[in-house]
Symmetry: C2
Subunit: 251 residues, 2 copies
């Protein structure tokens, strides 16, 4: 039986992104210099940060007036009070605030450290917020790319998140367009003919993680293309990866 | 700049594994029929279940006498009381027991649903436990494979785990040998020359997730080989991915 391998291509050559930049055009230009040719059902994985920069989701820290709560926390843990205030403002619910770490639920519904607010790969004195609506951004990028390449594609906007109980961050899918983010094995049978239960795989998160392996935080490669994954192409949104409150055992 | 792509090859042809089977030999035989040739620094990702089966970590449910607690929980949630008892016995700490779901810490230190006890891809009337020591199993497999192939390799023993706040399971690394499971960017600089903080990536988990994309629960493909990932080969163990209790904000 011939089984398809998956390939994960890093895409370099994206310039430093500025607010208002046409990200789709810059991605296509970067892909023109790659040693592969974009094909139908390729999945573009884009680091959240370049999407945020193109959207202008950049905050000058000296425009932030920290609240008393932010000042106190910052003093206790040696943080920048303006950054703490920004994290609190981007949060709709604090999940944990301990050991100098703020885990909160963002306005989008993501549970992560610092509400996704980040100062690495940002200009000094600024912080970068998550995209306003990662699914909408993924859809807009997909529409442009599919038109340019005249082919069905997938787009994932990804960021690295920590996890409870496990060390290290992994890349996960915030915004998704063009593919089903979950693969549902329920009702299918295992190799022994028994019905599989409760097996839904977060393939979009696994694709994001696979892409991170070639992206590299330090190397400035915020783009990867994944080819050959057996996916359900067509529709799908990243918000389906967010567990609804009534199923959350860790509220 | 030429950047290396990563390839993820599925490996089919592994027979149904029985207790005492020589897993290394069976993997090598499966690889002989693959359409790629194993090379130095290839990473073998092996589903936990075949390792457990080879170790004989199979429990006949009719040997289990359920405790009153197990009987009560099973009645409340429509579960098999023997299976519930087995989950409780494999747990050293219950993290959550709600909505019919048991999240616990296994004797190894993994926090997951049902202590990793699984009945899918198991014979009727039996359940499969996690490997006794996934790192030791990974090391034993690596030693055999490196000897056979006369090349440095990596081995990851993986299982699909759920996550709080996110829907769907992703494959993670339980046992690791031959590669560093964490990539540490702390002290390195970002594209703008600023020092990166708190960025440690769980590359072994990302490799496990990448492998899952070709493995497929229903298709009986418990093996994948990943080539081209820029990893620190040599030493490393999966238990370094387990967050120590004193850093756990979710106890």
């Amino acid at each position: 039986m011939a089984l398809a391998a998956i390939q994960v291509f890093p895409l370099s050559g994206l310039p430093e992104i500025k607010p208002g930049d046409d990200l789709a055009r810059l991605i296509v230009e970067a892909a023109q210099n790659a040693d592969f040719v974009v094909a139908a059902q390729d999945v573009f994985v884009v680091a959240q940060k370049v999407v945020s920069k193109a959207e202008g989701r950049i905050v000058k820290l000296d425009t932030i007036s920290p609240s008393e709560r932010a000042v106190q926390w910052a003093r206790e843990w040696g943080k920048d009070p303006r950054l703490v205030e920004l994290v609190l403002k981007e949060s709709k619910r604090i999940v944990r605030m301990a050991q100098g770490v703020i885990i909160s639920e963002t306005k989008h519904g993501f549970v992560c450290a610092n509400a996704g607010v980040d100062v690495s790969n940002a200009e000094v004195g600024t912080a970068i917020l998550l995209p306003a609506d990662p699914d909408r951004a993924a859809r807009a990028l997909l529409d442009r790319l599919e038109k340019i390449y005249s082919a069905p594609l997938g787009v994932i906007i990804a960021d690295t998140f920590g996890r409870p109980w496990r060390e290290g961050l992994v890349n996960v899918a915030l915004g998704v367009a063009g593919l089903a983010p979950l693969r549902d094995y329920r009702g299918k049978t295992d190799a022994g003919g028994k019905t599989l239960q409760a097996t839904v795989i977060a393939v979009a998160d696994e694709l994001a993680s696979a892409a991170e392996l070639v992206m590299g935080k330090a190397d400035g490669i915020p783009l990867a293309v994944i080819r050959g994954a057996q996916l359900a192409f067509g529709s799908g949104v990243g918000r389906d990866l967010i567990r609804p409150a009534e199923k959350d055992l860790f509220r």
